[in-house]
Symmetry: C2
């Protein structure tokens, strides 16, 4: 039996979940893995949480760095979040030779490479399974079980908040505002929902996944990111009539010109496995040259799910410590370029408000043709009181660059009142 | 760079896939993992395969044991299959101190415990990711990423052949015989389809998964197994009208009375994630106390998928060898009883052919009541030319034991011509 002392920094929702698992399953871990995982120190600035969780005052501190410098602590769990003090804490813990486990996607998506290098230099491990997909095992399968493959694509629904909103916009016709209000009332969205609805959360996660899958460092600022704030119920409804579901997809693809990486609302075929991922669930689709398509599905958030991943990482770190094993270093051995979004080639759904005059359609279609963008379908909706009509185009595969030129030119036409929506369509 | 010499025994479809990956990705593995994986020896009784695969005659032998005793071979891959010579080969390789990778579900589901113990005693590793779910990472997540959980249930579609047949029985109304003929024509079913259609393949896989998930050895002979041979298109069609899909599920649940483990055709809600798993795809649903529900989906068979898992295991074994790491031993530390099928409590779909006389329904309903089996729904279908009618019952949750007594009594009634179907219904 090996005793491993854990220092836990950050007692929020996930931290509370971690405390619960360590308490409830201590005997199981002893019996199954010959590991005695002890919560040796906890740190939080909000000291009221110590008593709320019934923790022994002797192990509690409001100073994260005191915890890190405690020679008894073997594994440090960082659950502060963000890229400020959390970064200093992780760096200091690694420097002190501790194994570190974090759930911090923003940190890993911005400074992951530097921190992983620091861990490798010190011969310790930095684990971050909880940073993507809550409790869904996805980092570990990419780093281990799927290594025989050249991974060519990773994509998925990695933000539960927006998936909850999109599910209810789609199934109940809710507007964006109503869906957001409902998500906030249920505790799925924060008071300031920006990180979720504007796509930064998903962008961080796909940057992390791409880095591992393609063995090349990708940071959050390299991800072309569009959220769902401007998505209207109208387009969600049109998508359904055309056999599509709208999802906020995070997509990373390996192309001959580099890594194509982006987050945006996406129309996918209603029959695709990802279409049936509803509510706050997450699912990540991984395509490899040998394995074909695989999918990993589960709760993307919540205290239990995230704590499951955190404690799973702690057990791995503890096993390595018990066996004196060398741990897996960074495998970002390649240095691939990021393909600019303008070079993207996909299909596009465009909704425009136009004056209902004869010859409008012909005039617009000419613009598409002039830029070599061919059309898959055109749908004209009834005329409104103000004499405008709605026209929906779905293009065949086209370059984003060409689409942007088409839109600029269409906007210049006096018959075009508004370009109301552009949504990318992926056949998957 | 660490050179690791691989000995591959068995050059069938999966073996050919393994050769392909090792050849195509040798440089990738060198760059990403600092591992030079060399195919040092291959063995097959069918020596024609050596030239078919373009292998250097100098590394080929028809004697598996010669390969094993070669001191240069570090990792042995066993792809012979079955429980005969494969068992001797794996045992001998472990005894010789080799790391062993196998895709052999029948072997692992019958002698896994003994072989894992032998590996542990010798301080080497026996890996078997490919034995369940083809290329889907499932063994490794259960052994690593999900260890923080008490796993309470593992269930899924783990046989691609029968799922292909059921998909087409459901979507196109094919009979069992036609679905089988089509699966055989497409190469998804063997000339002798018994192992697939009678459930033994699925039983082996769920025995392996249950052993890992519940930390308790379960062997294939402990799995209550019913295949799809007697499943009629009639019941598949009725299931659809009632909002269910019929799948061959492999189910393992932890109960207070022990492990409930079984393979049988099962009606599941049409809206459930598993319902949309079609064709030869596999999906495994894992429920843990912290993580909630997770699902792992992908191609359950095929050379590429299985080879992906095999080579993934080889890379893990090679990493451990390169780093001189201790490998994970058997964690079957518990010794849980298997709950007899008669103690199962679930819902049941029953279809009966009866004489269309007045009072029949009342007489039959009395039998259910006498054994405390309450009914969720009753559906009577039109009368046939011969004066018989079809009655379908779906029960509330009931004990299998009680259902069996009900059936025995119903069979004794002279108005009951035939008990045409019993299918268990799981709400999931």
């Amino acid at each position: 039996m090996k005793t491993v002392n854990i220092g836990l920094i950050g007692l929020g929702t996930v931290g509370g979940g971690v405390v619960g698992i360590l308490q409830d399953h201590q005997e199981d871990f002893q019996r199954h893995y010959a590991l005695d995982l002890r919560l040796a120190r906890v740190a939080d600035r909000n000291t009221a949480r110590f008593t709320q969780l019934g923790l022994d005052p002797a192990i509690c501190t409001d100073d994260a760095f005191a915890l890190i410098s405690d020679p008894d602590v073997d594994v440090v769990i960082e659950l502060i979040g963000g890229t400020g003090v959390a970064k200093d804490v992780v760096a200091a813990a690694l420097e002190a030779g501790k194994r570190v486990v974090t759930a911090n996607k923003a940190l890993m998506a911005s400074s992951g490479h530097t921190l992983l290098k620091a861990a490798e230099d010190r011969g310790v491990e930095l684990r971050f399974e909880a940073s993507v997909g809550g409790g869904i095992p996805i980092i570990e399968p990419l780093k281990h079980a799927l290594t025989a493959n050249k991974i060519t694509r990773v994509l998925g629904i990695v933000n539960g908040t927006t998936n909850y909103m999109l599910t209810h916009m789609s199934e109940r016709g809710l507007s964006y505002d109503d869906a957001l209000a409902e998500a906030q009332a249920k505790g799925y969205a924060e008071a300031d929902p920006s990180a979720d609805v504007d796509g930064a959360d998903a962008a961080a996660k796909i940057a992390i996944l791409a880095s591992i899958a393609f063995h090349s460092t990708v940071t959050i600022d390299q991800v072309h990111t569009e959220g769902i704030r401007n998505l209207s119920a109208t387009d969600v409804a049109y998508a359904a009539t055309m056999g599509y579901t709208v999802k906020l997809l995070a997509i990373a693809q390996l192309t001959d010109e580099g890594i194509d990486i982006r987050v945006h609302p996406t129309m996918i075929p209603a029959g695709h496995q990802l279409s049936s991922v509803k509510g706050v669930y997450n699912a990540i689709y991984v395509t490899g040259d040998a394995v074909g398509d695989t999918m990993f599905f589960g709760e993307g958030a919540g205290a239990g799910a995230a704590a499951s991943a955190v404690v799973g990482d702690v057990i791995e770190a503890a096993r390595a410590l018990a066996d004196n094993n060398t741990t897996l270093g960074c495998t970002c051995t390649d240095d691939l370029p990021i393909r600019p979004i303008t070079e993207l080639e996909t299909c596009y759904y465009l909704r425009m408000i136009v004056d209902d005059k004869s010859g409008v359609l012909a005039k617009m279609t000419e613009v598409f043709a002039a830029h070599d963008v061919s059309l898959d379908s055109i749908m004209q909706q009834g005329v409104a009181h103000d004499g405008t009509a709605e026209i929906i185009y779905v293009t065949h595969r086209a370059r984003e660059e060409a689409i942007r030129r088409v839109l600029a030119e269409l906007e210049g036409l006096d018959v075009v009142t508004e370009i109301a929506a552009l949504i990318r369509v992926e056949a998957l």
